[in-house]
């Protein structure tokens, strides 16, 4: 820690990070092509780009997970050889991963010092770590109770622990990979306050995200990556959302969903007091009632893990109804009349799963096999004994054509398609039959901006054809722009409902954190 401070004094003029002509290939895939990047000291630098643009590869090179094929890394003006994360930490680089690297049943203090203990005696290490942690907390305004069990903390606080971990190891340069994915809008604001405090004390921050509004809100400079190259660097104050989006995609994009006012008609799907307990007896869904009308898109907002997944599962027949009723197209489903996912499909319900890799497709299957999931027993795909493999392939080809899935190769393994194309294939499979009711979980998770536009159009088209759509999304902007009516879920309950035209991020955010009460209490508890 002392050495990095010395070097900082020596080269206070040189940039924190200076990447020169970084190249990295994975076989024939050129993930980084002659990438140059300069991050000024004490600044927040945003890096945006679509999936597969090379952001993660570049950060992995900087943090020592990969070694660059060619190019130089200069840290504080000095040539650094970074071949492992140890080297990166020694050079003063810290990283906060998208998925936290914390041990949930350790205390905050134990997590922070893990792997960086000062002595072989645990007691001594704890004493010195506690003092250092207190100093850091005070200096950067990062209040966390060092003796709290990490798993009990709110997600926003766990992220603080990650940041403290990096600072404890002497990080002067902090890389944050998609840090806001799991946070409520209020927690995002707190994070940005922390980042501002870090910047004020000379820490350089690199923020990797695909959310344009965050880039505009917090960064000083922004770099756009596309197809493995740096396509542009801008001063944040001199750019716009539209310009950044176009730079990312390489063409004009529509950021707002283009749709007319909804014309809701009869109720096609109704949930009536649905309650679901998991195998441990914990209530996951608590007396949820809702109606979805023909010709409207109902959005479910909420921080992920508040019952949305269970709601989708029970409404699509993946888990059986335990208490309450579902009325779907005139059929009532309840604990006495249990139907499985196939029966739900026969009642004209389509379901695009929240998580493609866990539910919506089999990544080891070929695209053609994925294209009939849920419809494998339909007569059109079956002969008397054997499956009609040609019909299956033809079906997949026509879906790929209709939804512009690339590459249009039905025999390619599903895992080898990009996220956007996987999602298009899943959407195509469900929408092609024009279901009366469509459930969509996270319509655009891990999907490129170009494909987002297309997917939104398809959902709106289905609505305009007089069908009911229920969308679950953790992206507030998506819920607000795509849906006609919004329901907010918190801890398995519905805590609010409003027309999309009345909604704003502030209102929804308060509801998502249940008026912020629980989160604020835990934050304050930790800081006192």
């Amino acid at each position: 820690m002392l050495t990095t401070q010395n070097t900082q004094q020596q080269d206070s003029l040189s940039p924190a990070i200076d990447l020169r002509k970084i190249n990295k290939s994975f076989g024939p895939v050129h993930a980084n092509k002659d990438v140059d990047l300069i991050v000024a000291k004490g600044s927040i630098h945003g890096i945006i780009g679509e999936n597969g643009a090379g952001k993660s590869t570049l950060m992995s090179i900087l943090y020592g997970f990969y070694e660059a094929d060619s190019g130089e890394i200069l840290v504080n003006g000095k040539l650094a050889s970074i071949t492992s994360s140890k080297d990166a930490i020694r050079a003063g680089i810290g990283m906060v991963h998208q998925h936290f690297m914390l041990i949930e049943n350790f205390t905050v203090l134990e997590n922070v010092m893990l792997g960086a203990e000062l002595s072989s005696s645990l007691k001594e290490s704890k004493i010195s770590a506690r003092a250092e942690l207190a100093r850091l907390s005070e200096e950067f305004g990062l209040a966390v109770d060092p003796d709290a069990i990490t798993g009990d903390l709110a997600v926003g606080l766990q992220q603080r622990v990650e940041i403290l971990k990096a600072l404890y190891r002497g990080a002067e340069i902090l890389i944050l990979d998609e840090p806001t994915g799991v946070l409520t809008p209020q927690e995002v604001k707190q994070l940005f306050d922390i980042l501002n405090a870090l910047r004020a004390r000379g820490v350089s921050v690199m923020l990797i995200t695909h959310k344009l509004q965050e880039i505009l809100a917090i960064t000083d400079e922004v770099t756009v990556m596309r197809g493995g190259t740096m396509v542009a660097s801008r001063e944040t104050s001199k750019t716009t959302k539209q310009e950044l989006a176009e730079l990312m995609v390489g063409r004009k994009v529509l950021l707002e969903v283009d749709k007319s006012v909804a014309q809701p008609k009869e109720v096609l799907l109704e949930a009536d007091n649905l309650t679901i307990k998991d195998s441990a007896g914990i209530t996951r869904l608590d007396a949820v009632s809702l109606k979805v009308h023909a010709g409207e898109i109902l959005g479910i907002a909420g921080v992920s893990g508040n019952g949305q997944a269970e709601l989708l599962d029970v409404l699509s027949g993946i888990i059986p109804v335990q208490e309450g009723n579902i009325h779907l197209n005139g059929t009532t489903i309840n604990a006495k009349n249990v139907l499985n996912a196939k029966d739900f499909r026969h009642l004209s319900l389509g379901h695009v799963a929240e998580d493609r890799h866990k539910q919506g497709m089999v990544t080891d299957f070929s695209a053609r096999e994925c294209a009939i999931m849920g419809f494998q027993d339909e007569p059109e795909f079956n002969g008397r004994i054997l499956m009609d493999n040609k019909a299956v392939t033809d079906h997949c080809v026509s879906l790929m054509e209709e939804f512009d899935v690339r590459p249009a190769n039905p025999h390619l393994k599903a895992a080898n398609f990009s996220g956007g194309n996987q999602q298009k294939l899943c959407m195509a499979r469900e929408i092609e039959r024009q279901p009366k009711v469509l459930l969509v979980g996270q319509p655009t998770r891990g999907v490129d901006i170009g494909a987002i536009e297309f997917i939104h159009q398809q959902i709106v088209a289905l609505r305009d054809a007089g069908n009911a759509v229920l969308v679950v999304s953790v992206e507030l902007e998506e819920v607000m722009s795509l849906c006609d009516r919004i329901i907010v879920m918190f801890e398995g309950r519905i805590v609010g409902e409003m027309a999309a035209s009345d909604a704003d991020a502030q209102k929804l955010g308060l509801l998502m954190g249940n008026a912020g009460s629980d989160d604020q209490a835990s934050t304050q508890g930790a800081s006192s």
Binding site: P28, H351, V362, L386
Partner: protein
């Protein structure tokens, strides 16, 4: 994007071959270590397995058993189930085959009896697999544990039956009476004699054709039927199967029953074909070898045939080896088999990264040359 994957022919062809070669090289060192010549050992094994017609007969006879058990393990594996119970299922299946033969052998010839024997054996084998399958699907008891237990139960049950119930009156050996000549499967020797070719006697019989038919049927089942689609989907991703409206519990039970029924066909080869009676421990480890065969054959019928042939040759050639050179203990073949399993099963992926690198280098060169 992920061009890091190897082409199929490298993955299923070259990699296993390298693994087998590595296993043989290490085996060679082991033989060297006990002071014998590896080259001589290779000579004995190869000539023992393929050098003369009787040897070939024995090799193919063992191969037949391994194809049945290998297919059985692989079909369960496609559903994500590790069926260790092939041994017991084959044993009980053989009991079914034997009982059917013993009760009908005075009434009909072998070709009329065969369908009944297959049905009875299949039913017995399936029933023996059904209980662990049910416990797995509906009670959550792990199929690995329960099938191992059922191997022991099968073994004890057969000892009891052969000693107390099925034993030929007046005999000291715990085995049933012989099945009548006309009701046993024709040996390959007889078959060849009928078309005028004279070959040496061996236990090889028409069951090998049944094994080939089974390979085709399993291939059709897995990749050309709805059931196979469901089986493979459960194996890859059970959540996706539930999402697709598949009754996973039912499919798990059905898959295990099919697996047990295929294992039981060892009984056709052994009881109805070779031994012509029910006797103690006729399965002789074929059920366990089937696990190695399925692993090495990458759970594909073609791979299973090739792997079965390798293990069949090792078994026959190994017996020949210890016969020709008593200084090399019989157990050395078990060591070789173990090494093959180690390299093809546990260490399958050991050579993969370096192969990937090598291949990608080659690929990149070709790419550059094209540009």
């Amino acid at each position: 994007m992920s061009n890091k994957t190897l082409p199929t022919w490298v993955d299923v062809g070259v990699l296993p071959l390298i693994n087998v070669c590595l296993a043989f090289i290490v085996s060679g060192f082991v033989i060297l270590l006990i002071g014998e010549s590896p080259l001589e050992a290779v000579k004995y094994i190869v000539t023992g397995a393929f050098g003369y017609d009787e040897g070939i007969g024995y090799t193919l006879f063992y191969t037949t058993n391994f194809i049945f058990t290998g297919l059985a393990v692989s079909i369960a594996f496609h559903a994500g189930l590790f069926n260790i119970g092939g041994e017991g299922q084959a044993y009980i299946g053989g009991l079914g085959v034997g009982l059917m033969c013993l009760s009908l052998d005075s009434f009909m010839p072998w070709w009329a009896l065969l369908p009944f024997a297959i049905a009875a054996g299949g039913a017995f084998g399936a029933a023996w697999a059904f209980i662990p399958a049910y416990l797995q699907a509906y009670r959550g008891s792990h199929v690995v544990i329960t099938t191992i237990m059922f191997n022991f139960i099968a073994s004890a049950l057969m000892v009891y039956l052969l000693v107390n119930v099925l034993i030929e009156p007046g005999s000291m050996a715990p085995q049933s009476r012989s099945i009548m000549e006309a009701a046993t499967l024709p040996s390959m020797q007889n078959l060849f004699a009928a078309i005028g070719i004279d070959i040496a006697n061996s236990p090889l019989n028409v069951s090998i054709f049944l094994a080939m038919i089974c390979c085709v049927l399993v291939w059709l089942l897995l990749w050309h039927t709805r059931l196979g689609y469901a089986i493979r989907m459960i194996g890859f991703n059970e959540n996706a199967a539930v999402y697709s409206g598949i009754n996973t519990r039912r499919i798990i039970v059905i898959t295990m029953c099919i697996s047990g029924a295929i294992s039981a066909l060892v009984g056709i080869n052994e009881v109805m074909g070779a031994q012509e009676r029910i006797l103690l421990d006729f399965v002789a480890g074929a059920g366990f070898t089937g696990i190695a065969v399925a692993l090495m054959g990458r759970n594909h019928p073609v791979g299973i045939v090739i792997a079965s042939l390798l293990f069949g040759a090792l078994k026959q050639g190994g017996a020949e080896l210890s016969f020709e050179n008593p200084d090399i203990p019989n157990n050395i073949v078990v060591v070789i088999e173990g090494l093959v399993i180690l390299f093809c099963g546990a260490l399958t992926l050991m050579t993969k990264p370096s192969m990937e690198k090598l291949f990608l280098k080659f690929y990149a060169k070709k790419e550059n040359a094209n540009v």
